[in-house]
């Protein structure tokens, strides 16, 4: 009986947590596409890129195409 109550409580807690999940629709991605949403520091990373390119002849691989809007 006790186990049943615990299970019920766990299920209710899980259901409560799941309400926080939401699908961001393609037309709602304006905020995600904002440059301020880029991870890290854009100025700092461009300087790092420059340093890696000039010292190690390495470049690229620092991001993904398409930006944060998931377009196309």
């Amino acid at each position: 009986m006790k186990n049943r109550h615990l299970l019920l409580l766990a299920l209710m807690a899980a259901a409560g947590l799941l309400t926080g999940c939401a699908n961001v629709q393609p037309w709602e991605r304006g905020n995600l596409a904002d440059p301020t949403m880029t991870a890290g520091n854009p100025l700092g990373s461009s300087m790092s890129e420059h340093m890696w390119f000039s010292r190690e002849a390495a470049s690229g691989g620092g991001g993904v195409g398409g930006g944060g809007c998931g377009c196309n």
Binding site: Q25, P26, E28, G30, A33, G66
Partner: protein, 172 residues
């Protein structure tokens, strides 16, 4: 004892059946995108900002765009070109904006001027019903208002070529 057990089991089965039917219904409601041959929703029913043009008997390209969408910036000059070329033959282009702020749309239109019709789906009622899979997305409608072709995204010359071929075929 046995009858009560049987009754309980029956109730359980009924409940499970009802839940399964509801879930299936919800799934169907969720996954019902428009497909070729379907009638496109009547644009006057969604409280869109701007004037919905009379599209009766016209070939219509309905495009969903936003200021933050980079491929949309590429698609505008292509659509403008198509509009100038085919408007006289019966093509109507309607671009529907889904930006949260109107000022963002205005800035976009200053940078990418368009002479075709611009509407704004501020309440996202239309786009939520149409459920486009990506930005931009466009529907080419035949003269009967039925979907002739759907374009997911804008892929430069490839999409431009498809638009031209499809529009020319419909305008014949």
């Amino acid at each position: 004892m046995n009858t009560s057990y049987h009754k309980k089991n029956m109730t359980k089965t009924k409940l499970i059946t009802i839940m399964a039917v509801q879930l299936f219904g919800a799934f169907l409601a969720m996954a019902a995108p428009l497909k070729e041959g379907d009638a496109f929703p009547d644009l006057t029913q969604f409280g869109l900002e701007g004037t919905v043009p009379d599209t009766h008997g016209k070939v219509v390209l309905v495009d969903f765009f936003a200021s933050w969408c980079h491929p949309c910036q590429e698609s505008f000059p292509a659509m403008e070109e198509l509009y100038k070329q085919y408007a006289g033959k019966g093509l109507v282009i309607i671009a529907i904006n889904v930006d949260k702020n109107k000022a963002d749309m205005d800035d976009f239109l200053k940078a990418h001027p368009a002479s075709f019709v611009i509407l704004r789906d501020a309440g996202t009622k239309l786009v939520s019903q149409v459920k486009i899979p990506t930005m931009p997305s466009s529907f080419l409608l035949d003269r009967d208002g039925k979907i002739h072709a759907f374009h997911k995204g804008f892929k430069g010359d490839e999409t431009r070529k498809q638009y031209t071929e499809e529009i020319e075929a419909l305008l014949k």
